[in-house]
Symmetry: C2
Subunit: 331 residues, 2 copies
């Protein structure tokens, strides 16, 4: 087992977010589930876009957002995901490479355009996401650089990408490669509806000991455990995992490691503008602390600070220097 | 002279802004003029983009920004400008149409891609702009809908667009059409360097009585008058115009109408984030007041409030309800 060259490599959707501000009536009239993520085809994406207000475009993608936070905190990161050879693909690639993240997955010359996520942010700062997966869902298994995966201390996987067939196969081969190289695997459950579709797969991965750190929010852990009771859900899932991290919005977050429970408060935020990316950046802070050998409490606190930054503005990529924000916690 | 169907029609660059945060050293190392606008070709645009940090994409264009503010304040607007048939073109068209602005200029199927402006925002909130004009500079005179121009109370022209040959010709024919229909013409000088190249044209337009309302900032009015002395510059230019409006950043703004000078303070802003679009939104507020028959003082005050909103966040399109902000001033 050689010394890892990268701190983390992630496989995720390569998405540009299209973010508008909408009233609650927009969510209701379009039959959307507030706070949720739904996959949309090209036709529905076009219909929704036509109804949306003026938008801003900011690179997104759950795992890519997490890496953006980690790169800003000084970690060596690699990203695997597929864009199309188009302007949104150029934007995604620029935004991830310019912060020092290795991103070498070739852009697809054929097939659908680069993925986009139409995000409506309501006055309560909640985000409702409608994802057109485009080129992202056709990430071919051969595009997954197994050498890069073996070279990274942590393999980070995004549950969202479990839906489409090709990336799922790619992630399975990545898990094997990481395990053979003795690397850690972190997994984020992403969304309750993704879990509805893939619960058996996710539970089997846990059972087989393939996941070292699992990230979830309250809805997701309840969905995975198939119980409405949060504590019962945690009690059911945690024992199968070296580390379970559950984010709880304004109630903070918990981590359960070797049967011990650790907690953190949510970081104080002047004004919550857009909650998109809160979980992604929480994971960025937690994993950075983990890599730097911090305690579970410290990892949670760093995660909470990063999540606090991201919800203070539109978009899921950090705007302020996370290193300064986190400061002594990472010294 | 028929009753105008639109309040305003503008001819301007159809641009998507690409906005990153950079240190002063970036401006120095790339030999840029802080606070200025330079035109860049495709190759230089690519070089600069490669060096920029992560960016957000937000529709821009000086006159288009002004219309976005006016549409939000309830005015009927039409925009003329050319994008290419590409993703950035789709974004620009969406963002302008979804707020109710008539935008019917066909997207170019051939030629360069949609224009973009690479904007570096430094910690002092100053913006340094590098514009790749792309499809915008090839706006063909026949794309200018003269009927729409005749149908609007005000024709609004952007000095930036005086540079490229085809749009300049288009604007000249628009001026003729507006004048024949008895409409007002408002003109924004846009940038000191544009004035360097076209001072004679601009002075001749004023001399011929083709401009009813001229918008400038301090640098621009000094450049137009070819004097370093602000007061001398105003004294030289104002007499040729029914209304001269000069924005002065934190010092507020002045309007000179029929020899009388009116002033407004800058609106108080909690934190100035990005000054891009300050002049554009000032014009939006001023022109809206003008259309609604407000006094010069009131027009200035409305302009100052709109400018205050736009500099409180990244991007040159309003994020908060300008109607609520301006409130009783427009009742």
């Amino acid at each position: 087992m050689s010394e890892p060259a990268l701190d983390i490599v992630a496989i995720g959707n390569a998405i540009v977010d299209v973010i508008s501000q909408e009233d609650d009536s927009f969510i209701a009239e379009h039959g959307l589930t507030k706070g949720g993520m739904q996959l949309v085809d090209a036709a529905l994406a076009e219909l929704l876009y036509a109804d949306m207000g003026p938008a801003r475009e900011i690179s997104g993608g759950s795992a890519a957002n997490t890496l953006a936070g980690m790169a800003m905190l000084g970690r060596q990161c690699g990203f695997i995901g597929q864009v199309h050879e188009d302007q949104l693909g150029t934007i995604f690639a620029h935004d991830i490479r310019t912060i020092g993240i290795r991103f070498e997955t070739p852009a697809a010359a054929d097939g659908p355009p680069t993925a986009r996520c139409l995000i409506m942010v309501t006055p309560d700062a909640q985000r409702t996401m409608n994802t057109f997966l485009g080129a992202s869902q056709f990430l071919p298994p051969q595009a997954v650089d197994l050498d890069m995966i073996r070279s990274a201390r942590i393999l980070y996987l995004e549950g969202y990408l479990w839906d489409p067939e090709q990336p799922r196969a790619a992630m399975r081969s990545a898990i094997r490669a990481a395990r053979e190289a003795g690397r850690e695997i972190a997994f984020t459950l992403s969304d309750a509806f993704v879990i509805e579709r893939h619960r058996e797969d996710f539970l089997r991965l846990i059972e087989e000991g393939q996941i070292d750190i699992l990230f979830a929010n309250e809805n997701e852990i309840r969905s995975l455990a198939q119980t409405e009771d949060f504590e019962k859900a945690v009690a059911k899932i945690a024992p199968g995992l070296p580390t379970l991290v559950v984010t709880r919005g304004e109630k903070g977050a918990i981590a359960i490691r070797s049967g011990e429970r650790h907690t953190a408060q949510a970081a104080p935020v002047d004004r919550i503008v857009d909650t998109t990316g809160a979980g992604d950046l929480f994971a960025a802070g937690f994993l950075t602390g983990h890599i730097q050998g911090k305690t579970a409490e410290q990892c949670l606190a760093i995660g909470a600070l990063c999540a606090g930054e991201i919800i203070s503005h539109f978009g899921a990529r950090p705007e302020t220097d996370l290193g300064k924000l986190v400061g002594p916690l990472l010294d």
